[in-house]
Symmetry: C2
Subunit: 313 residues, 2 copies
């Protein structure tokens, strides 16, 4: 993404207010930090007692020749070390070529502050017994209302997002653009397949009987994505979340290049692995211990701790 | 990591040479870019015909109060959008608070240039037949010499890196700091368990007979890491690489927080999943189709294409 370098416009009123708010606020707490993605979340306190949250991100480098040349022409090197042909440097470039992408939220409620405060994550081993005893109770207690899913399936909403449909009651599904995707940037392609069949909560409910459903979703979705977006089938990653956010079976399809949230081990299970596992053992997901992570204050984590199935804090 | 803000020192001679080299070089090619980690790799050409590679990274934000306050006090906001309490801004901060961390390599050989040039990755489905026919031939042809592994196991090298040893010939292993880890920063903890037994190339060679070995490695390594580094067992991620870099069975242990290279789906298989799979089916890894990715020009990828087991480019 190129950094926009525009002539500053006259400050509009909300911009001026935000600048003033920030000038009269002080740092209170480091809510979260991510040194690999170069972002930081700060809690600020204003003189008047209001709280604010600043979400700050370093910007990606521009990718066009003009902007890159501009950076190179203005780079000031400071050597850190040098060994043969390899040198390490800190490079200073003009501030307008190196903007931060930020959100400032003020006044911020306690609920928002909690949301952005980084929490430790822990690993949970969900044995079949833990699933029956703890996870199922969690799903019954906290499961989100699935009406929005049924509305999608019945085309009462998000109709413009639909890419493909197989309307078979047993093995059919709709394929639609994920809400997080702009529908254009292929690098971040994010598409969701939602099965028409009701009652399959997650991979836990799958047996070899569902292989036709799973293979149908995989084959037709990959085909539809390749046809519509020109992305090769061997450059599309398809997976389930475990635990999923909502308990109606669905599959995520993303560009292999895209480092999507929760697309990694302990959050994602590849569709190909699920198909493979069910072919090797038809009852695989009734017998398996599934490993995933949860944040400390998460409700499922709390239930695991209370049941003695996770370490105490 | 705090960004060092130091008084500029008088330029030393190699620093001056590098600055001059850069001043007389122009942009030739965007070798690679990573917008989520905010890095870019550039190929440059000097007037004298030499090539150079600039690896540029945005720096992580500082985490200490003084440096954060310094940024806040010098932040110049430009509003992008504002909706209720939520505002989006581009923020300009002084250039010396926002340095780039770079490496400049010059003169750069073609081999180095290839190494840093981003290549498309593709998904490979390794059926048991593909493994026997293609992957095994690849291992025989290209496998790295394992002497360095045997030297570790026999304590002829890297002795100071060893954290723990179980010297049992069948189920024993050594646990040592990975070469990429500084041995101190717990956030990036990276430890390797290498089994004493020779001849196990990868997870493909594992059957239920190896469960005592795998459980021994898991239990004793987690215990040793917790004792030595104070990291809880449920905050340590343990996994195999598939394909591994070297074909002598070993397990990676990292801090759950650490986004280590190749610790994600299609590169990593959790040790707990391997144990689970072998308990469900003793011959799981003889029967499984394993899914992983390779770069376009990779030797294994080339062999898969030549065998008609991967799509042509």
């Amino acid at each position: 993404m190129p950094v926009d370098v525009e002539t500053p416009e006259p400050a509009n009123s909300t911009e001026k207010l935000a600048q003033e708010w920030l000038a009269n606020a002080t740092f209170e707490e480091l809510l979260a930090t991510d040194s690999s993605h170069k972002s930081i979340f700060l809690l600020l306190t204003h003189q008047n007692g209001e709280k604010g949250i600043l979400l700050a991100n370093k910007s990606p480098f521009p990718e066009n020749e003009t902007a890159i040349t501009n950076i190179l022409n203005n780079a000031k090197l400071k050597e850190i070390s040098k060994n043969d042909i390899f040198g390490s440097y800190e490079i200073e470039i003009p501030s307008d070529l190196n903007l931060l992408k930020c959100q400032l939220i003020y006044p911020a409620t306690d609920r928002l502050i909690s949301k952005y405060r980084q929490e430790e994550k822990y690993i949970i081993h969900e044995t079949p017994e833990n699933y029956q005893k703890i996870t199922k109770a969690y799903i019954e207690k906290y499961q989100l209302n699935l009406n929005w899913v049924y509305n999608c399936l019945e085309k009462k909403s998000e109709v413009d997002k639909i890419i493909y449909e197989d309307d078979d009651k047993t093995n059919g599904f709709i394929l639609l653009q994920d809400i997080k995707w702009d529908g254009k940037t292929i690098e971040n392609l994010y598409v969701l397949a939602i099965c028409h069949q009701h009652g399959l909560k997650s991979v836990r409910d799958l047996t070899a009987d569902h292989l036709p459903l799973l293979e149908n979703i995989r084959d037709k979705s990959l085909e539809a994505i390749e046809n519509k977006y020109g992305l090769r089938k061997d450059q599309i990653k398809c997976y389930f979340h475990y635990q999923p956010t909502f308990y109606h079976l669905h599959v995520h399809f993303i560009n292999l290049k895209y480092d999507a949230p929760a697309s990694t081990t302990m959050s994602a299970i590849l569709l190909d692995d699920v198909i493979n596992n069910l072919k090797i053992c038809p009852q695989f997901y009734e017998l398996a211990t599934l490993t995933f992570t949860r944040r400390h204050s998460d409700q499922l984590m709390t239930m695991y701790r209370e049941a003695g199935a996770a370490e105490k804090a």
